[in-house]
């Protein structure tokens, strides 16, 4: 029990240290915009299919679930509102974050973990290059920038998924569906979802890099780091989501 508590607080300490290091090393030269762009492509462009597919089917399933229930009280015209608000305020950000945690957080953990066990991170230090500056800073900021952009697209695709099911399958009126989708939406609903996405992006990349950076042992250590990166990032996203929702709404 004592050891578990020690490990927990040690993890918090490592996270805080890495957080501080990222902030501290971000403004220092040389700025590697090429690597930032490269990471944005890896996290953003290459994740686009999986994130959008998730949003499309989430919107579609929500339509299937809510349309029937709302029809019981003759309120099916509100299906569009519910789907749009759910996607924009909550679902698009959380689901995209979970997908990115699985796809990119794990990749960062594995990549940095392999670099650690093959002494490539030591080699960076020897070559007068701070590993946090060279490896972690571009990954963290790339994910922080890209995740809100993915969420913007997820919002559109998720709402369209709901539209498809409601209009094509359930026979809802397309004009009133679209009208209702945006009738109750405010700008704050959209911005809060994007703020959440940026915070999630920062946390996912930071945890993924931290787990990889602190890898010990050989192939088994890399495997453990990868698993821990996904689990810790996903749980952190869900916990932070609660507090952000409390603060933002």
């Amino acid at each position: 029990m004592t050891r578990a508590l020690n490990d927990f607080f040690a993890e918090i300490g490592h996270f805080a240290q890495m957080f501080w290091d990222v902030l501290r090393w971000t403004p220092r030269r040389p700025w590697d915009f090429g690597e930032l762009l490269n990471q944005m492509v890896r996290v953003g462009v290459l994740s686009l299919p999986v994130v959008l597919l998730t949003a499309l089917f989430t919107g579609a399933v929500m339509a299937l679930q809510t349309y029937g229930v709302l029809a019981r009280v003759n309120a099916e015209s509100f299906t569009g509102s519910i789907i749009a608000l759910s996607m924009v305020r909550e679902l698009a950000a959380v689901l995209a974050a979970l997908m990115i945690a699985g796809r990119c957080g794990s990749a960062m953990g594995a990549e940095l973990g392999t670099m650690r066990v093959t002494q490539q991170i030591d080699a960076l230090e020897v070559l007068a290059t701070n590993p946090v500056h060279y490896l972690v800073v571009p990954r963290v900021w790339a994910t922080t920038i890209v995740l809100p952009l993915l969420v913007v697209l997820s919002n559109v695709v998720g709402i369209y998924g709901g539209y498809l099911v409601s209009v094509v399958l359930m026979g809802a009126n397309p004009v009133s569906y679209i009208d209702r989708s945006f009738q109750f939406m405010e700008l704050a609903d959209v911005t809060s979802g994007l703020i959440k996405a940026a915070v999630f992006g920062f946390i996912i990349a930071l945890i993924g890099c931290l787990k990889g950076y602190r890898t010990r042992g050989g192939a088994k250590g890399v495997g453990n780091s990868t698993t821990k990166a996904v689990v810790a990032a996903s749980i952190s996203v869900l916990i932070v989501d609660f507090f952000l929702t409390k603060i933002l709404f």
Partner: protein, 284 residues
């Protein structure tokens, strides 16, 4: 970046053959360094001074902490107790940014090369030159090809590390270590796995770095032929401390049983007796 080797970093008149005796200033000092990994006490109050122009070779059996010692010299590991000073600066007192700057004086070749596997050989060798931003692209290109030629790896510039053999990777690591002409070079088993000819080329390079560029070198090797070729001074690491130290001639003439056992490669003797006694003590 610190002064390039061969410019003003070396004392005037410090001929290589004279430097081993301690004529140069202390570049690296280890004072009472202790390091443990769990119950294993690897370094036990180790004292060592590396002087300007030294070509120091660290000998010792497997698992005696030679690599751990070298990693302390450049601040990759921090001692549990004691201090490591580079040019009089205590590494423990430096910030990470200061330590990063100080490391520009060093070059290190790792046991397995430690090449960046996502970069080509060219980008690996020119990595620090690119980062420093003090050379033009053409200058970097020339320097990288010069280093690759020195380690007999012309024509590999555009290959990835995964396309090279273990020995080739080690040589690329060597080229990367010398590319920025560092003042202090650390070599972790530079000859392991190399054919005799390439091994001799690497030895020659280390000697040339010292004689022409006045680099200070610290080398870990199990290859005694290589050790006696490149060293101006040898130390034998045993049970976390320096068991013996001297010039190649002094070591060969040493009557210390531990030195004699190591040099002759005997299976039984003081070194193995000490290890056996330690194992017994741990069991008890």
């Amino acid at each position: 970046m610190g002064p390039m080797v061969g410019e003003e970093s070396v004392q005037e008149g410090a001929a290589p053959e004279a430097t081993w005796a301690g004529a140069g200033r202390a570049r690296i000092e280890l004072r009472d360094v202790h390091k443990s990994f769990g119950p294993k006490h690897v370094l036990r109050g180790l004292d060592l001074t590396v002087r300007d122009g030294d070509s120091l070779v660290i000998l010792g059996g497997s698992g005696t902490g030679k690599s751990v010692l070298v990693q302390h010299l450049i601040g990759l590991m921090r001692p549990d107790r004691g201090s490591v000073l580079v040019d009089g600066e205590d590494l423990a007192a430096l910030s990470s940014a200061e330590l990063t700057t100080l490391r520009q004086r060093f070059g290190m070749s790792f046991q397995e090369g430690a090449l960046f596997d996502s970069l080509t050989v060219f980008d690996n060798v020119g990595f620090l030159l690119e980062r420093l931003g003090t050379m033009t692209r053409a200058e970097i290109r020339d320097r990288v090809f010069e280093c690759l030629e020195l380690v007999r790896l012309e024509g590999t510039a555009q290959r990835l590390p995964s396309e090279l053999s273990g020995g080739m990777r080690r040589r690329v690591g060597f080229a990367r270590a010398i590319a920025h002409k560092p003042e202090i070079l650390l070599f972790d088993e530079p000859n392991t796995g190399l054919d005799p000819v390439t091994s001799a080329v690497i030895d020659e390079l280390i000697i040339r770095m010292r004689e022409k560029l006045h680099s200070t070198t610290v080398t870990i090797t199990h290859d005694l032929r290589s050790a006696f070729t490149i060293a101006t001074r040898l130390v034998l690491l045993h049970q976390g401390q320096i068991a013996a130290e001297g010039t190649p001639e002094e070591m060969q003439a040493s009557e210390d049983g531990r030195v004699q056992q190591f040099l002759s490669g005997e299976a039984h003797g003081p070194l193995t007796d000490d290890e056996e006694a330690e194992r017994e003590a741990r069991r008890e």
